[in-house]
Amino acid sequence: MLQLDAESLYAELLAGVRPLLKPESRLVGIWRGGAWLAERLQRDLGLPGPVGIISSTLHRDDFAERGLASGAGRTTLPFEIDAAHLVLVDDVLFTGRTIRAVINELYDFGRPASVQLAVLVDRGGRELPIAAAYAAARLVLPAEQKLALAQQDDGRFSFSVEPA
């Protein structure tokens, strides 16, 4: 049984995101796990203002099969996207399809100057040419296994690993 200590991975992510930031950079967390991470990173890095939150719902490529996933979050970008340096944050990078959808979503709001990606876990299995600028852990999981971040009431993170 795979054990992933989400809290110690978060500490590594915090250290790994710092060098990606330019003075004007903004964090954008991907709903849901990525949004939790971005909010905590924002505090721990002492960055000003609110984080952005972005949802892949309206640009997913599996809409025809899955329909609208209910409760899949809403994009809130409380700053100018045009010419911004953005760091997308997510819990797990897998096929890359969510990232593709999220980049399309971003472009509905403007043209950023640069977009980077930082994740807690890169689990391999990419189906698109997408890579993270920083991953706190890289591992390979069987495709049928589900890996998702959870947040406890006290704000601490944990990973749940389920067979799909």
Partner: protein
């Protein structure tokens, strides 16, 4: 006992057509309202369009005229990136004697993915839904006196937007209830969403006592009907009713049931006033009320686009 499945739902209980609010579970209504909230925010983007229905063809079939409803459906479908085809059926094939199902079969052969149907006959959208291929979806945009479910849903969205919670509200629906598909859809939706007091207000000819069977309180006195209401939904008085001897005159109706500032003062101070449009100023509603601070008639129109986007994307994403 074998229950006949609601033709709007697939075997997983997911919405595949929207034909009527009657019989839809609260969770389905709430999900559409939540989804509409997401689409409302699309209006604030630089690109006011999302690709959910890209490559799909939506056919607007209006056998009865309605510029506003057809336009809002068209905008909603276009914001979802669908191709929209508007057919002015009243002036084309039906006039040449083609049957409804032949019309549908022909349009299906043109690869329609969704039909938005307005028809003077109650039940016409049901008939269409029964005969389309499994991948084709049907939205009822108003059928006879029966139902106007997207108007009902946009009214619920409006109420939830301004009042947050349904379970403490008093809602008065005023006017020609008996001929109104909007009233019927509103009453079903309000009941399903848990509104404790729904009043149907109007003269006996337009609000018969047997409406109480729908779970509403019938009031023939306007003051009693709107006293302490949180929400007042005014209905359009259709001119043809006047000639049908159901009402003495428009002036007489306005005197008793027209919403004036004096009558509105009987409702709660934060009461909202709604109207499905088009409004008849001075017939069912005074201009100063229609344009006043309690009126949410124009927000209803804006919300209507988001709600129709939510309905179309929800049904398009579910398989028969």
């Amino acid at each position: 006992m074998l229950m006949k499945r609601n033709p709007q739902l697939n075997k997983h209980g997911e919405l595949i057509h929207l034909l009527s609010i009657e019989g839809l579970p609260r969770a389905v209504l709430t999900q559409i309202l939540d989804t509409a909230g997401t689409f409302l925010s699309v209006n604030d983007r630089e690109v006011k369009k999302v690709p959910l229905l890209r490559g799909k063809s939506v056919f607007n079939l209006f056998f009865e005229n309605s510029t506003r409803t057809r336009t809002t459906f068209e905008i909603a479908a276009k914001r979802l990136s669908a191709d929209v085809i508007n057919l002015d059926i009243a002036r084309s094939s039906t006039a040449k004697g083609e049957s409804l199902l032949d019309t549908i079969a022909n349009l299906s052969a043109m690869h329609a993915d969704m039909f938005v149907v307005r028809h003077a006959e109650s039940g016409a959208p049901y008939l269409i839904a029964q005969h389309v291929a499994p991948h084709v979806h049907v939205v009822n945009a108003g059928d006879g006196r029966h139902a106007h479910p997207t108007q009902g849903l946009l009214d619920m969205y409006t109420i939830r937007h301004f009042k947050k919670d349904f379970t403490q509200l008093t809602v008065a629906i005023v006017g020609d209830i008996v001929h109104s598909r909007v009233a019927r859809s509103d009453i079903h939706a309000l009941t399903t969403l848990g509104v404790p007091e729904i009043r149907a207000v109007g003269p006996k000819t337009l609000v018969p006592g047997d409406l109480a069977g729908m779970g509403v309180r019938v009031c023939h006195d306007m003051a009693e009907g709107i006293r302490d209401a949180d929400v007042i939904i005014m209905l359009r008085l259709q001119n043809e009713r006047m000639s049908g001897a159901m009402l003495p005159s428009a002036g007489e109706f306005f005197k008793h049931y027209g919403l004036t500032p004096e009558k509105l003062a009987l409702a709660k101070p934060d009461c909202i006033v709604m109207h499905p449009g088009p409004i008849n100023r001075g017939v069912e509603i005074d201009s100063s009320v229609a344009d006043g601070s309690h009126s949410v008639i124009l927000p209803q129109v804006t919300f209507g686009i988001a709600v129709r986007m939510a309905v179309m994307s929800t049904i398009a994403g579910n398989q028969a």
